[in-house]
Amino acid sequence: MTGQTTAVDPRTLSPRAIVWARRRRAWGRLAGQFRRNRAGMAGLVLMGLFVLLALLTPLLFSSSELDVTQATGGVYDPPSAQYWLGTDDSGRNVLALVAWGSRISLLVGLCATVISMVIGTAVGIMAGHYRGVFGGLLDRFTDWFLVIPFLPLAIVLATVLGRSLLNIIIVIGVTSWPGTARLIRAQTLSVEGRPYLERARALGAGNTHQMTRHVLPNVMPLVLANTTLAVSISILSETTLSFLGLGDPTAVSWGSILDDAFSAGAISQGAWWYLAPPGICVVLVVLAFNLVGRALEDILDPHGQGA
């Protein structure tokens, strides 16, 4: 399937073009295999729907619907034709809350994952590349952070830093990198043993060149699979931290809606329409990222026999 594209005489191409063509083919192969994975595709579609919802929310619901003083409904109105998901304790439209919540939940989840991936990949590659004291230290450091229980650490950090959108992103980002670092280090160690790295070293390539030009492109697919799994964990973490009141007090996310519902006594009022939708959204989004991540892992894992 990919054989025809190599018909061009390689001698007429620059080395860079050859490298790019090879990478494009590798990614194309990955995409082709992914399309055949049914669970992965279902996850991808679900993911797309939620991203679309987050992007279209400002067009669908005015932000004034989040304002308690401008609420139009009654207290705990059950679902009706006007309010599809009922109203909360101050008469706000739960559907609008959940739609606006998707924006913060996805934003925090994605940004925190970027931080965690950058730290995790950098530490992992360096810990695998440098032998001796520096690499050993990084490795120890990863081990230490891996052991510290996530939620207590995140709680302590969030308390010390104060409550804001940026801080919750930082807290989730800097507490969730060790797992990635572990994985990337193992992959780096296996890449380091290959002959082309020895060749690069023999030609005088520096550490930075070796790591960015040879190791990084090779661990990239694994980083991608891990990223999608990490997004799901970040979204769950955001929900938990916001539920505990550690999120931005002015931003509406799925976690903060659940926090409001819990503190406002939605449980004893039997207001299931206030509790269920944000949670279902979290489950669906996290499931979507999990399905995509698992599908990618299945494809990239040499032991995997496919789904």
Binding site: L151, I155, V160, L161, L244, I267, G279, V282
Partner: protein, 347 residues
């Protein structure tokens, strides 16, 4: 299965080359290195705990006293303590990290006096849930892994994936609203929160039943969420074992399928699951925090949430130390257990 070699018990006619200094065998060296490694991690956590609360920007006193009235005498005491050089403060702290010199802001007594009575409810909740989740998760994992791709496997894998994607406190709230409050005309059966009915003596058998009744929903929540992960891992490791040659040999000997599974595949597949169950304790601690809050169980988790508003920094610091210490200990146990179960690890 070989046990960890006892250095004294192993008969050694001549010092073998495998033996290092202090006459330790490979098993002994493994144990020693793991214990030292865990001790090192704990020292890191202790040091980290000190600097985390001091290295961050802002006035530490305003952090300790944020949002509350503090009398002048206490402010002065705090200031003299925090005005010492950082090195002196650190030496003071490192001498005994558990003897917090600052009282809990909220309760006015040393933090450990607040924490210690709260340990039992958490242990009861988390312990029961972990045991249930392990048994059910391993059983589910074996069933779906052995008959991979069949209907049971498909249903159970999908269900566990959904459960795995669920915030545990949300699941708890849904159980509460359905089974304790009652919706759609259903009556609420279970208590809405707490560990026992006020006034009931929990040392009598009737009291135990009352506690069990109160714990049903929270334990179910935690157990269901944890079993999802255990069964996914058990399934994956059983599938890994299924391609192995020794299973082929066992079948060639004429063993029945159930025996191949029980005697050969499952014991080997259990190894990664065992480690995971212990390694997972950090995650379990997180679950306990939100679940205790939702079900108003007076344990360490709800204490953590209580300490958040204020914040009650001395209590938070001590809790962080306790949670991290517990997880480090669990990891050490996992490492040693793994070595005992799988002799390959030791060498």
């Amino acid at each position: 299965m070989a046990l960890v070699a006892e250095p004294a018990a192993a008969p050694t006619p001549a010092p073998s080359p495998a033996r290092g200094r202090w006459g330790l065998g490979p098993g002994g060296r493994y144990v020693l290195s793991r214990v030292l490694g865990s001790a090192g991690t704990f020292v890191f956590v202790v040091v980290f705990n000190f600097f985390l609360f001091r290295m961050l920007p802002g006035d530490p006193i305003s952090l300790y006293t944020r949002g509350r009235d503090v009398d002048q005498a206490m402010m002065r005491a705090l200031r003299t303590q925090l005005d010492q050089p950082l090195g002196a403060q650190f030496l003071d702290y490192i001498k005994n990290p558990f003897a917090q010199t600052l009282d809990s802001v909220k309760y006015g007594i040393p933090p450990w006096d607040v924490i210690l009575p709260r340990i039992w409810p958490t242990l009861l909740l988390v312990g029961t849930a972990t045991i249930l989740a392990t048994i059910l998760g391993v059983w589910l994992g074996i069933r779906s892994g052995w008959r991979r791709g069949q209907r049971f496997d498909k249903v159970s894998t999908t269900t566990t994936l959904v459960l795995y994607s669920m915030p545990e406190f949300w699941f708890g709230m849904i159980l509460l609203i359905v089974f304790a409050v009652g919706v759609f005309g259903l009556p609420g059966i279970f208590p809405i929160g707490g560990l026992s009915t006020p006034g009931v003596d929990t040392s009598t058998p009737a009291g135990w039943l009352d506690v069990a009744w109160h714990l049903t929903l929270p334990v179910t929540t935690l157990a269901v969420i944890y079993l999802a992960e255990y069964s996914l891992v058990m399934r994956a490791s059983l599938i890994d074992e299924m391609g192995q040659d020794y299973l082929q040999t066992a079948r060639a000997k004429g063993l029945r399928d159930a025996l191949v599974r029980r005697r050969h595949a499952v014991p080997n597949a259990l190894l990664p699951t065992t480690t995971l169950i212990f390694l997972n304790l950090g995650f379990v601690v997180g679950g306990a925090i939100t679940i205790e809050y939702v079900f108003s169980i007076q344990g360490l988790g709800s204490l953590t949430v209580d300490a958040l508003d204020g914040p009650d920094v001395p209590v938070l610091q001590s809790l962080f130390l306790l949670f991290s210490g517990a997880v480090i200990l669990a990891n050490l146990v996992a490492d040693l257990l793994y070595a005992k179960l799988d002799p390959r690890v030791r060498s």
